[in-house]
Amino acid sequence: MNTILQELETTISGLKTDTSRSNVGTVRECGDGVAKIEGLSDVMLNEMIEFPSGLYGIALNLEETEVGAILLGDFTEVREGTEVRTTGRLLSVPVGKELLGRVVNALGQPIDEKGPIKSDKTYPVEKIAPGIIKRKSVSVPVQTGILPIDAMIPIGRGQRELIIGDRATGKTTIAIDTIINQARLNKAAEDGKIKNHTPLYCIYVGVGQKNMSIARTVDILEKAGAMPYTIVVSAPASESATNQYLAPYAGAAMGEWFMDNGMDALIVYDDLTKHAAAYRQVSLVLKRPSGREAYPGDVFYLHSRLLERAARLSKEAGGGSLTALPVIETQAGDVSAYIPTNVISITDGQIFLETDLFYQGVRPAISVGISVSRVGSAAQIKAVKQVAGSTKLDLAQFRDLQAFAQFGSDVDPGTRKKLDRGSRIVELFKQAQYNPYPVEQEVAILFAMQKGYFDDVPVDKVKDCQNKLVEYFTTRKEDVLALILDKLTIDKEVEEKLHSAVKDFKGFYKP
C-alpha cells in the first residue's frame, strides 16, 4: 500500500499545468471529410489540427485567409463555427517490431481485436526519403519463390518493382507468395537451417479494397504462418478517402523503422490506382485545380515521394533496406494510361500480368516480353544466374516463333528445337498459388531445364515430371540441395552431383 501511495505521490508531483498559448481557428465549412478553417495563422503544412471532440485533421491547403484540412475519423460532429487549434505535431504512427503480426488502420491503431500495441516509438507519416550519400546499390536478392520471377525478373532488396495487370490476373497473389516465402526463409534462418540470412519483414498495405479481400489476405498469411513477420495496414473502400490516401505513407513509415535500424523490410502497396483515386477525391473536395483525368497536378509527386522512400542504405547508414512492390491495376491491358505510366517511370522495373495468358492457364500470367527488372540482376544469386541466364531470351524467341509456326507445320530442326524448349519452359514456369519454391529447388529445376533433361518429356507431362523431380530431390538428394544452398554457385562439384541426380531420376521416371 505504501509503495502505491509513494508512486501516486511522485506521479502527482511530476504533473505540471501552466497557462498555454495556442493558435486557433474557426471552421467555416465542412463536408466530405474536408474542413475549411478561418484563422490558424501559425499552422504548418501537414500539421495536425485538434478539434474539440478529440478528432484530428491535417492542414493540406494553406491559403491567404483560410486553411483546408482533411479530417481523420468521424467528422459528423464538426459544425460551422467549431473552434480548432494547432498542435505543433506532424501525423505520426507507431513503429517497431511490436506491430508484427498485427492488422492496423492508416493511423496505426489496431483493428484486429488483439489488444493495444505496446510500442513507444513513433515515426512521422510523411518523411523525406534517404539522400544520395546514405544509399548504395542493390546487392542482396529478395527471394520471391516464384520461379519465373527469380529466374528472369530478379528483385533486389531496396528495389521498387511494380506489379501491373488487369483485374483478377494474380497481382495480389504474387505479392502474397513473396510475403509467404520471406516468412518461410525467416523461420528457416531462426531454426538454423539457413546461414547468413538477414530476415526480411513484410508490410502489406491494402488500399481501397473490399474488407473481404483484406480479411482473406490476412487469413492466408495466418494459415501460411507468415503473420508473425508481417504487418497489415488496412484502409478498405469503406474508410474515408483521407485514410486511404494516408495508408501507404503510414506503411512506409513502419517499413522505414526497420530500414533505419539496420534491418530489411518489404512493403506491398495494393494498390496505388485506388490510392491515386482517393487522393483525387481529397484534392477535388479541397478545390485544388484538376488536370488530366481530373487528377491533381501533384499526382506524380504523390507516388514518387512514396516510392523514393524505398532504399538500400550504405553500411555507414546502418545497412538496412526497404523494398517496395507497388501494385497497379490497368483497364483492358492499357499500360499507357496516366497512373500506370507515372508509376512505371518511377519504379525500377515491372512485372506485367496478362489476362490472355491467365486464361490460357499460364499462372502466374507474367508477360516476359514487357516485364523487366532494371537493377535486380545485380542481386541475383550466382547459381540462379548460371542456370537461368538465357531463359528470357529463349522464351522471347519462342513467343516470336510461335506466331509463325501457327501457319505451317514445316519448320527447320533449329526452329523446332526452340519451339519445343519454349513450350516446356512455359510449362515449368506454371506454379500453384501460395506455393513458393525454395531457391535450391529453383536451381535444380532450372538446371534440369537448361541441360535439356525435360526435352524428351511430352509437354503435358512436364509439370508432373517437375513435381516428381522436386520430390526426388527433397526426399533422396537432400545433400545436393544443401550443397547448392551452401555454395550458392554451380561449380564443378555441384554440377556433377546435379547431373548424376537428374540422370538417376530420369532413369526411373516414366511419363
Partner: protein, 148 residues
C-alpha cells in the same frame, strides 16, 4: 460609426449569395483591402469612400467584391479584437491590469471585450486574433488529463 458597424451595415445591404467568390472579384477585393490602410491601420474614411464608389459604379461582380472585401475587413478586425473570458465577472482593478498588460504587449488600438463563461470553472482565457492564452481551470484539467 465604427468599422465593425459599417461592415455590418454593408452586409445587410448585400443579397445572400451562395456562389463562391469569382477569382476576379477576389482580386479586386484584395486590392481594395490593401488600399484600406493608413499608417498600418484600417482607415474608416477610406473604407467608406471605397465602398460608396463601388456601389455607385457597380463594376462586374460588385456584390462578390464587396462580400469578399467585408470578409477581409472582418478578419483584419478580429486580429485586433481581444476577448477576455473569465468564469465570473472580473473586478475593475483586475480588468484594468489585464487590459494594460495586453495593450503594452499588442499596442493601444486593441478592441477589448469582456465575457463571462462559467464553463471555464476558474481562471482566465484571452483570445487575440488567432492567439489564445488559456489559464483557465478547464484547460489545466485537460492538461492533467493528457499527462495522466
Amino acid at each position: 460609426m465604427t468599422i465593425n458597424e459599417s461592415a455590418k451595415k454593408l452586409h445587410g445591404r448585400l443579397p445572400h449569395r451562395v456562389m463562391r467568390t469569382a477569382k476576379e472579384a477576389r482580386k479586386v477585393s484584395r486590392q481594395l483591402f490593401r488600399e484600406s490602410f493608413r499608417d498600418g491601420k484600417l482607415d474608416e474614411e477610406r473604407i467608406t469612400q471605397m465602398v460608396q464608389s463601388v456601389l455607385a459604379n457597380k463594376p462586374r461582380h460588385y456584390v462578390d467584391v464587396l462580400q469578399d472585401y467585408q470578409r477581409l475587413l472582418r478578419l483584419e478586425q478580429e486580429k485586433r479584437h481581444a476577448v477576455i473570458e473569465s468564469a465570473s465577472p472580473l473586478n475593475r482593478s483586475v480588468g484594468d491590469q489585464v487590459v494594460n498588460n495586453l495593450k503594452s504587449r499588442y499596442g493601444d488600438d486593441l478592441n477589448i471585450e469582456f465575457r463571462t463563461n462559467p464553463e471555464l470553472l476558474g481562471g482566465m482565457r484571452i483570445k487575440i486574433g488567432d492567439d489564445v492564452w488559456d489559464g483557465s481551470v478547464r484547460n489545466r484539467l485537460r492538461q492533467l488529463q493528457e499527462q495522466i
